[in-house]
Subunit: 413 residues, 2 copies
Amino acid sequence: MDLELVTIGTELLLGFTVDTNSAFLGQALAGAGVRITRRTSVPDEPAAVAAAVSEALARSRLVITTGGLGPTKDDLSKTVVAELFGLPLEFHQEIWDAIVARFARMGRKLSDRNRCQAEVPRGATVLPNPRGTAPGLWISGAPGEVIMLPGVPGEMRGLVSNEVVPRLAARSGGTVVRSHVLRTTGIAESMLAERLEPVEDSLAPLTLAYLPSLEGVDLRLTVWNAEPDRADALLAEAAARLQQPIAEHVYGTGQQDLAEVVLARFRERQWTLAVAESCTGGMLGTRITAIPGSSGVFRGGLIAYHDELKRDLGVPARILEQHGAVSEETVREMALAARRKYGATTALAISGIAGPDGGSSEKPVGTVWIAHADAAGSEAHRAVFPGSRQEIRIRATQAALWRLWRRARAATL
Amino acid sequence: MDLELVTIGTELLLGFTVDTNSAFLGQALAGAGVRITRRTSVPDEPAAVAAAVSEALARSRLVITTGGLGPTKDDLSKTVVAELFGLPLEFHQEIWDAIVARFARMGRKLSDRNRCQAEVPRGATVLPNPRGTAPGLWISGAPGEVIMLPGVPGEMRGLVSNEVVPRLAARSGGTVVRSHVLRTTGIAESMLAERLEPVEDSLAPLTLAYLPSLEGVDLRLTVWNAEPDRADALLAEAAARLQQPIAEHVYGTGQQDLAEVVLARFRERQWTLAVAESCTGGMLGTRITAIPGSSGVFRGGLIAYHDELKRDLGVPARILEQHGAVSEETVREMALAARRKYGATTALAISGIAGPDGGSSEKPVGTVWIAHADAAGSEAHRAVFPGSRQEIRIRATQAALWRLWRRARAATL
């Protein structure tokens, strides 16, 4: 089943808003076996909205619109679409009552402008929107069908998941487009492609996409238009074959975060963690404590930004003097000291040059030393990361977590 | 001057890629006085691309396309557009030489598929793309003009800034659409609107938009179609009037980060900073050290996640027992201890309940205590932030930086 999407809003064309709604809709509809064949964005102008919606209806008979359902004078989508279908707008008392109650709950003043949000084209299905004032509308008639959704992302998402997808899925004949993502890190895209070449040729009819980011390369397998059970079986089989030549790099699936996976492995082993961070300035701690329940594993640690704080932690002054703050020796001492001082089974330390200044020919910007220490001793690794200051820090944080993951994976219980 | 945008790529419609290119183009073109009147996204299918481009040309005579210029078989935009204009494709040796040299530099293998990237519709202007292999193309003919750009964001941006905007600006008669953003924090959108009501009515013909985020509310003033000098004067005058009733909340302009502003004020005063973070787990340190040159001000600090680390820092055990980790007394002691221990003029401490668990009726999820300490003593504030774990942490970090900003602003030099 195909449909077209019309997104309405001057701010989309001026570039003040990044259109994340379209990406959400694309994924949510694909999951229901529905393909978006075209997306059109127009400003909040009646003629532009009318032209875009009627052209889309002429091509596909089924159209989703987002935006233009608010209370201000810019919000005219509903009037325009009602006219296209030749339907009068009718005031719905129960929608108005819900709007009044909502405003009262939030202690906000209601204006007369809000009344238009309770108007519905005659015969349209009202899609309840508990997250906002404007309900969604499903309008059918001679030109086809238009599903009108608000542009506010939270409201639109709720309506799509709860009202639109179930209704469309029921029509789509039971086939789905489904993806499975393997998350990799610590290996370059080109190297991945080389290792996967033998497998890749045998994946058809599934497709494989490489999605590089600062945290690694995601591998997205996709099955197109299969029944759900068949799709899942194909994906599981392909994922298993794909994983084999790169197992030490595949840390998770879907949107799993490496910090979450590391914490789970530490919890299994009853290990605890402390950190000592220089160039990342707390980013490692932030990543780890973003995971609910991290307090069972994570004790905390030092943001040892200034060298005095590294000495205070326990790095001998002569090591800092002889080898510098960004060196194997210093980062090892940071990890060993953090482990001792903060009473953790394992400690992780990072020290590097995030730039833009401070590099040299020997230690260029991007040079990062990472060390971890536990009962078995300490281990240090050096890397030179490309990119901006922030990119180098993100890559360094991910690389440090990957070292912990490898360590926890290798350890015998 | 008006134009239409056609973005080409199956991934855009499937929702696997968020379309950030459109937002960049909207802003960059508005700055050159060019308005995008419609954006159409189509999949990598010849018929869909041909239909979208020819319809756009019929409406506006000037069209920008992005995507479909790569070396794979999906990339067919150029062939389709050349056919619309009735132009043959010609092989350009100098483009091919540049592609060969680029691959050699990167140590990558060149495939025969890349040869098509050196083909150009007869008579088209080649727009050099030093960031990638496919150049941009500016094609003119009977149907109008099509500017073809690669879809890779970095390459597209470079071509727009260096090649497209200068050429279009020269045509646009010298008027621009220009915005000025005031960044506020520590005040709700509704409260801002109330304070600004008297000013707001007198801003026309400028428009004012409220842009709320987790870090505060940005106020965007926009002048539409004025000459550059006149636009700047109007914006400066309006910004000054807008700022007056809310001065203690306006910390910057444009995309300035609050951490950057705080560091600048600290540098002026020759103050130094240390932190002690519990629920934010290093986010405060991360924000501060994201700013190049932060090492002149920032010494570091403790991620005091586990209560043992708070005791180790110097918070008396009886205070933790009597008042708990999330309390005025504990957070004050954290700030005072961090100041002493890490030798900074000023210390900032955060302790709170980021959730999803750990809340109580007395201290619900979102409760955060923030304290700062300096030679004049210490000050503590409590807030209850809404949102997810991550949102609460981001709001708490921003609120803590705002306290520092107010402190540095109020202090007599």
